[in-house]
């Protein structure tokens, strides 16, 4: 692999896969199998990701410099009328939690970009990651419905970029 550690590339699906013309479960099953394989690999990558996060936190010594501005975080917290006092540690905790959140959502979104053979992360990649991840349900209103819908076909095993994917849309 010519990727730096921590950025393994899952195999690209849909290139060079033979499409038997006979009926039966052939190509559909093949897509399903490959999709599940890809999912498994993504799961493994995510496990590595979380292990990395924990390790980084273990090594943290600088609690004064953050990748996100604490004052802005506090402002967002205070937008909630029910919030009164905020302990100094709260925005600090959020700064790190938000960093993890951005990393996780980006990681999942990137998987979608790669499935579509793109090297630029787009809004619809984030939409896909949101629709695929239960814990991100609260974000569903941020991304338009159309961009999440394409994953219906994909969930059945057809890669989004595949010109033959329309064969696999259920009746």
């Amino acid at each position: 692999m010519d990727q730096p550690p921590g950025h393994p590339v899952p195999p690209v699906i849909g290139v060079g896969v033979p499409y038997p013309t006979a009926g039966g479960a052939g190509p559909y099953q093949a897509y399903q199998n490959l999709f599940h394989q890809q999912q498994q690999q993504q799961q493994q990558q995510l496990q590595l990701f979380w292990a990395d996060q924990y390790r980084e936190i273990e090594q943290t010594t600088d609690f004064r410099n953050h990748s996100l501005p604490l004052a802005r975080i506090k402002k967002i917290m205070k937008a909630d009328e029910d919030v009164r006092m905020i302990a100094a540690e709260a925005p600090v905790v959020f700064a790190r939690a938000c960093e993890m959140f951005i990393l996780e959502l980006t990681h999942r979104s990137w998987a979608h970009a790669e499935e579509n053979k793109r090297r630029t992360l787009q809004k619809n990649d984030i939409a896909a990651a949101i629709s695929r991840t239960d814990v991100f349900d609260f974000l569903i209103d941020i991304v338009p419905r159309e961009e999440g819908k394409e994953d219906v076909a994909h969930a059945l095993g057809a890669p989004s970029g595949d010109p033959l994917s329309y064969y696999y849309v259920p009746k």
Binding site: Q3, H7, F49, W50, Q53, Y54, I57, E58, T60, F63, H66, S67, L68, P69, L70, A71, R72, I73, K74, K75, I76, M77, D80, D82, V83, R84, M85, I86, A87, A88, E89, A90, P91, V93, F94, A97, C98, E99, M100, F101, I102, L105, T106, H107, S109, W110, A113, R119, T120, L121, Q122, K123, I126, I130, D134, V135, F138, L139, I142, V143
Partner: protein, 152 residues
């Protein structure tokens, strides 16, 4: 009983001077530069990010903060506490299903309290700032309910 808490945060005006009529548009989002930088960290070297994706991520993070804060704040309200602290946030992350976040963030919070406890203890004579609803520092260092002085 909660009066030490009142000293624990300042109303900082740096970077986003508030208007009288509530939060300005840009104040409800984290800066796009910071967000973009973090996103880049997890992408391969040749990965690029569209501007729209960064903007979407900004919205998602703010929603994340609001979502978790709301849950934490509700807990405080139920327990008749006025101050949202780090434990409440960890609790909310757990309650809302962010299972993978809980252990790392609890550890982060623990480390932060240890560090800041040492800092406060060494810079002034110890105060009675420790709150009852904390579980952290097993040692003698008082808790970090001190004014925030690390704004960007």
């Amino acid at each position: 009983m909660e009066s030490p808490d009142e000293k624990q945060h300042e109303d900082c005006g740096g970077g986003g001077g508030g208007s009288g009529s509530g939060i300005k548009e840009q104040d409800r989002l984290l800066p796009i530069a910071n967000v973009g930088r973090i996103m880049k960290q997890i992408l391969p070297p040749n990965g690029k990010i569209s501007k729209e994706a960064k903007e979407t991520m900004q919205e998602c993070v703010s929603e994340f903060i609001s979502f978790v804060t709301g849950e934490a704040s509700e807990k405080c309200h139920k327990e008749k506490r006025k101050t949202v602290n780090g434990d409440d946030i960890c609790w909310a992350l757990n309650a809302l299903g962010f299972d993978d976040y809980v252990e790392p963030m609890r550890r982060y919070l623990q480390k932060y309290r240890e560090m800041e406890g040492d800092r406060v203890a060494s810079s002034s004579s110890s105060s009675s700032a420790a709150a009852r609803d904390q579980t952290g520092a097993a040692g003698a260092a008082p808790f970090a309910f001190h004014p925030m002085d690390r704004n960007n």
